[in-house]
């Protein structure tokens, strides 16, 4: 089980969290102008990398907040967690 460092509450076991998938996928500003192709990219296409990955978590059984994390998808080790809206700390971005 992963040990996840919630930026608001500190380290807690994974079962307190729900996964939110890939981070930093901004919802389009003007959805009505998007082509089907662009919608497909926003809704469905993912980087799914083997290695460093920026992802979202939500501390559902705790503070309830969404936040981001950088994790290595081979070792499952976290490089860091950071608040939604912040950029990842220097040097750890995928």
């Amino acid at each position: 089980m992963l040990l996840i460092d919630c930026p608001y509450c500190g380290p807690r076991p994974e079962i307190e969290f729900r996964y939110g998938g890939e981070a930093h996928l901004a919802r389009p500003h003007d959805p009505s102008t998007l082509s089907d192709e662009e919608w497909a990219s926003f809704l469905y296409r993912r980087s799914n990398p083997k290695g460093r990955f920026a992802e979202r978590w939500r501390h559902v059984h705790g503070c309830g907040q969404f936040f981001n994390a950088i994790r290595d998808t081979v070792s499952d080790k976290f490089a860091c967690t950071y608040k939604t809206g912040d950029a990842p700390p220097d040097g750890v971005a995928p």
């Binding site: 996964y19 497909a40 081979v74």
Partner: protein, 417 residues
């Protein structure tokens, strides 16, 4: 290499089983092939076999980064069924079930296909409604699937606990009588041997590291750990690693890769007459011919390529197994492992062409593609050979995520063994 027969078995038994020949060659890669398949799992090997057998494309290589059958093919719980909801899925999975029925003869290799019945348990009102809807949809499509009461389910599978006081009571079950299991190694080895006999080169310990393309973007070959190989057609059948391989041609896939775990118990005498699965509490169980209970769990929630998963996932499944089958409570588990499954947003596979000329992909089988192995290879081979989708594969193109014509098997269950 010889054909397996009663005679060959007798001869080799008399000779102390010392003279069995190699079942397939270990060739070095040639400089060029007519088609290259990336990934020697069941689906990749079946694709190569049908390319050679049905389409006369014999100058084919299957490249495998590890050993053949060492991916999800060799890690799965082998449940075979075709009682899916939508017509497109019914056609695809039933195509596979029909091929399973004659596969041992076709390959001259005993794949130990055993249609012993698959029982899917309903634990709440939603399950009952969904399963009954499946039963009706399947019967309209000519696929057997029947609804059983809890008592009838217990009659079909006597070890099952149907006591009303359970945390997740058994309220009924859908029974697919033609469903069952097969031997995963034999499927990989049978296809490998049969493809090799038709001239296909199976090259193990050969990882694809890059995809080469010309000025128009069309593929011209692959870069591998055993050198560069030229080809005009590449079929990517890399399961959990599909996003990684496709990114070599700059194609971003609608896929996420998750760990999925399974475990086996110590071997015991025959106790489980059928396969039992419960999507609601993530427990999948059958008994192998060696006597081990083969138990499947759910996926972890996060993307990972670690080929292990969280222990809490398997203990959760064992909680469910112990409640459903109290007689198994004192059994010891011997091994536990994980595989990396590639999951699509609608839980249906992707089979077909890609935006890159000459590049084909067969992926997204996620938690439930073993059952489709023969059918998947069969329709994918036709798609590669003719450069247009086989009719059964046509609805499963990548374009469905642009047009919105999804084949939503996720509505019924997040996991679909």
């Amino acid at each position: 290499m010889g054909t397996f027969s009663f005679g060959s078995l007798l001869r080799n038994a008399m000779a102390g089983h010392k003279d069995w020949p190699r079942q397939w060659r270990a060739p070095d890669p040639k400089p060029a092939y007519d088609a290259i398949i990336v990934g020697a799992g069941g689906h990749g090997l079946a694709t190569a076999y049908y390319l050679a057998k049905e389409h006369g494309v014999r100058n084919v290589a299957v490249l495998e980064k590890g050993w053949l059958g060492g991916g999800n093919t060799g890690r799965n719980t082998t449940i075979i069924r075709s009682n899916y909801l939508w017509e497109e899925s019914e056609a695809l999975y039933d195509h596979a079930v029909k091929l399973w029925e004659g596969l041992s003869h076709e390959l001259n290799y005993n794949v130990m296909y055993s249609p012993r019945g698959v029982l899917m348990l309903a634990h709440n009102i939603h399950d009952i409604q969904v399963f009954k809807r499946h039963v009706h949809a399947n019967r309209l499509a000519g696929i057997d699937n029947e609804w059983l009461t809890a008592e009838q389910a217990k009659e079909f599978c006597p070890p099952l606990n149907i006591a009303p006081g359970m945390r997740y009571p058994v309220l009924g079950a859908a029974l697919r009588r033609r469903g069952g299991v097969a031997r995963y190694d034999a499927v990989a080895w049978g296809y490998a041997r049969a493809a090799d006999r038709l001239g296909v080169d199976i090259i193990q310990n050969c990882e694809v590291k890059g995809i080469r393309r010309d000025a128009n973007g069309a593929v011209t070959g692959v870069e591998t750990t055993r050198g560069d190989i030229a080809t005009k057609k590449i079929g990517v059948v890399a399961a959990g690693h599909t996003s990684v391989v496709m990114s070599m041609a700059d194609v971003r896939m609608p896929l996420e890769s998750f760990p999925l775990q399974a475990l086996v118990s110590e071997p015991v005498k025959p106790v489980m007459p059928c396969v039992v699965m419960s999507n609601t509490i993530h427990a999948y169980i059958s008994q192998s011919d060696k006597g081990e209970l083969v138990i499947g769990a759910g996926t972890d929630q996060y993307i990972s390529y670690s080929q292990t998963g969280g222990l809490h996932i398997t203990t959760h499944t064992l909680d469910a197994i112990c409640e459903l089958f109290p007689m198994f409570r004192r059994m010891r588990m011997l091994r536990n492992w994980g595989g990396i499954v590639d999951v699509t947003p609608d839980r249906s596979p992707i089979i077909g062409k890609t935006p890159v000329p000459g590049l084909f992909v067969n992926c997204g089988w996620g938690t439930g593609g073993f059952k489709a192995t023969p059918g998947s290879g069969h329709v994918f081979a036709a798609t590669i050979a003719r450069d247009e989708p086989h009719p059964i594969a046509a609805p499963f193109t990548m374009e469905r995520f642009v047009t919105g014509r999804l084949i939503d098997e996720a509505a019924a269950a997040a996991v679909a063994h």
